[in-house]
């Protein structure tokens, strides 16, 4: 898996958020996106995920030498971010079930149980998400993002709302991801930044 970003820029109306962002990333590499609040870190993550289009530049994804188009990149990525909410009227199990079905995953019952155990949500999976604390919601976001073993994992403010135990679990995930896949994080937390082999600054 490989990502090639060239001259990415984003404008909202007449206001330019950032310009000329470019990088190459391969499996086994990680990248941290840093910048002050409002600098466009989240916008850049959304562009890289294919959720919004850039105003300038291009982004290409390659797998086994072939390019993957924008509509099909979603099968290869996992995203955890504060703006990415789950269905709060449904239970955690129903949310997970929806993700499993939409991603065409089969035989993942053990994996789901392991992830629920790992993120300390076992025993609460039949509660509606609206009864969860913000930390529990963040843990559930990690579970649904990791169900399909994403080749690229995007983490926007990866440790927000988490207690120390949750943060340690996330660091385990980040360490494993960057060892053999691609990890992108958007953060200003110094401890999180240790997991980015390289850094790019936006809005500086």
């Amino acid at each position: 898996m490989e990502i090639k970003a060239r001259d990415l820029g984003k404008d909202f109306g007449e206001k330019s958020i950032f310009r000329d962002i470019g990088f190459d990333l391969r499996e086994g590499q990680s990248l941290a996106i840093v910048g002050p609040n409002g600098s466009g870190k989240t916008t850049l993550v959304k562009i890289l995920c294919g959720l919004i289009r850039p105003s300038t530049g291009s982004i290409q994804y390659f797998d086994n030498g072939g390019e993957i188009d924008r509509d099909h990149i979603f099968a290869h990525i996992g995203l955890v971010g504060p703006y990415l909410e789950l269905y709060e009227d449904l239970t955690a199990r129903e949310n997970i079930h929806f993700f499993v079905r939409m991603r065409d995953l089969t035989g993942v019952r053990d994996k789901v149980d392991d992830l629920l155990e790992f993120f300390k949500l076992a025993g609460r999976e039949d509660d509606a998400v609206k009864t969860y604390s913000s930390g529990m919601r963040q843990r559930l976001k990690y579970i649904v993002a990791l169900l399909h073993d994403p080749k690229i994992l995007f983490l926007d403010e990866p440790t927000s709302n988490l207690d120390r135990q949750g943060i340690e679990r996330v660091y385990q995930v980040m360490a494993e991801q960057k060892s053999n896949r691609i990890l992108l994080i958007a953060t200003n937390d110094q401890e999180d930044l240790k997991y980015g082999d390289e850094q790019i600054a936006v809005g500086s």
Partner: protein
């Protein structure tokens, strides 16, 4: 890897199933539509009286009740995704076509359920009767198809705007007007004629409208949904 049609329909079904589960738990759209429909029906029946209007006027009133009831609840299918910030989550999980089809089926089922309750009530309260029951049934089904398809794509368009409720009705009215006009005309014919062929132009019009709106929506939804 191209997604085949079976996968597309299967994922549309998953989106539909998810929306049904959410609706079962919150009953937001069902409550909004039914309460609006019943209040409108009661208001209409009190204002014109049981025998105070011709069948032609009653035909128009039926479609007006159906249209505004639809307006009160069908937009929720996309507005809910935006307001609860789950739209991006959904974008990560399915191609736009699956999402549109799932949402359209949900709105269609919701609208048909509403009709199953409202139409018999309208017949009873307004002392309304039709000669051509099959004509009326076909007009109602095709009208539901057109209204649901039009309402679904308009709901997607307005979901990112502020003042969604007002915008939905204002945008929907001109787009859905052909359905209302053909629905009223077809119902008027059904009141007096038992033959389906008497309303053939209205049936063709409603069928063509549904095909055009569904096809157009499938082509345009990609742009509406992503940007």
């Amino acid at each position: 890897m191209e997604m085949n049609r079976l996968q597309l329909v299967r994922k549309a079904w998953y989106v539909f199933d998810k929306d049904i589960r959410q609706e079962y738990k919150t009953r937001y759209s069902v409550n909004a539509i039914l309460l609006f429909a019943i209040v409108t029906l009661v208001a209409v029946s009190f204002s014109i009286g049981t025998f105070g209007a011709s069948p032609e006027v009653k035909s128009a009133l039926l479609w007006i009740v159906l249209f505004f009831s639809a307006m009160s609840g069908l937009a929720h299918i996309f507005v809910r995704e935006e307001e609860t910030h789950t739209a991006d989550t959904l974008k990560l999980l399915a191609v736009p076509t699956s999402i549109f089809l799932g949402k359209f089926f949900f709105n269609l089922i919701l609208f048909v359920v509403m009709e199953i309750i409202i139409v018999p009530l309208f017949f009873a309260v307004m002392n309304f009767a039709v000669e051509g029951i099959w004509t009326f049934f076909i007009i109602l089904i095709l009208g539901s198809l057109g209204l649901s398809a039009g309402a679904t794509i308009i709901a997607a368009i307005i979901s990112k705007a502020s003042a969604k409720g007002a915008l939905f009705t204002v945008l929907a009215f001109p787009i859905l007007l052909p359905v209302i006009v053909a629905g009223i005309s077809g119902t008027k014919i059904a009141v007096n004629e038992s033959s389906i062929s008497a309303a053939s132009s209205e049936i063709q019009m409603l069928f063509a409208y549904s095909v055009v709106v569904i096809t157009g929506s499938l082509l345009l939804f990609d742009f509406v949904w992503k940007d």
